[in-house]
Symmetry: C2
Subunit: 117 residues, 2 copies
């Protein structure tokens, strides 16, 4: 029940599971803490591509850089302050160009559990 504050300076990013690119994540709040949502930071190096089918609802807030998310016919591009919502079941390709990107994310339910199952 305690209010918590997180900053990218506090985190240890690890390579995002299930891919070998330079995409790193750090969960600040997740299944270890008893709630329903996961909160974290993601860092994408430049020129990365990640294709996946969303196992959870995933909200990505771009903090720095730019990211593109394509799904079938359409592509959205997002920069600082913009939000990309990738609902469960969506098959997406996430790409970065020369800048890479820093994101915050919130998922419901916990992505790490959904990933394993």
């Amino acid at each position: 029940m305690k209010v918590q504050k997180f900053s990218i300076a506090d985190v240890n990013l690890v390579r995002s599971p299930g891919q070998s690119g330079d995409i790193f994540v750090a969960n600040m709040v997740d299944e270890r803490h008893g709630g329903h949502i996961t909160i974290g930071y993601g860092r994408y190096a430049p020129e990365q591509t990640l294709t996946e089918t969303m196992a959870v609802d995933d909200v990505m807030i771009v903090l720095e850089g730019r990211i593109a998310v394509s799904m079938g016919a359409g592509t959205v591009e997002a920069g600082p302050g913009e939000i990309v919502y990738m609902p469960k079941g969506a098959s997406v390709t996430i790409t970065t160009e020369g800048e890479g990107a820093l994101t915050a994310y919130v998922t419901y339910p916990h992505w790490a559990e959904a990933h394993e199952s």
Copy 2:
């Protein structure tokens, strides 16, 4: 199941319910869309104070400006790129100073429904 992108430029902010200050919100995704989470933007004018007991888990990502959240003995202050997590049941006072703040938020479950009940 569609990927969506949101930008502060797209939104119509409305006064946050239950308070008369200059605090404005816009839900981009909420109970109208069938999922479990609400996604939105919040704008706090300078020198605002909002006290509430959290009816839902609320993740606030600061995009511009600064915000302080106090709870009992402790206060956290957050600026651009920082995340404040206010879990359900927490009694908080949110304040802004001279800059005000622009935030993105994600709540589980939907705050508007919890607010009404």
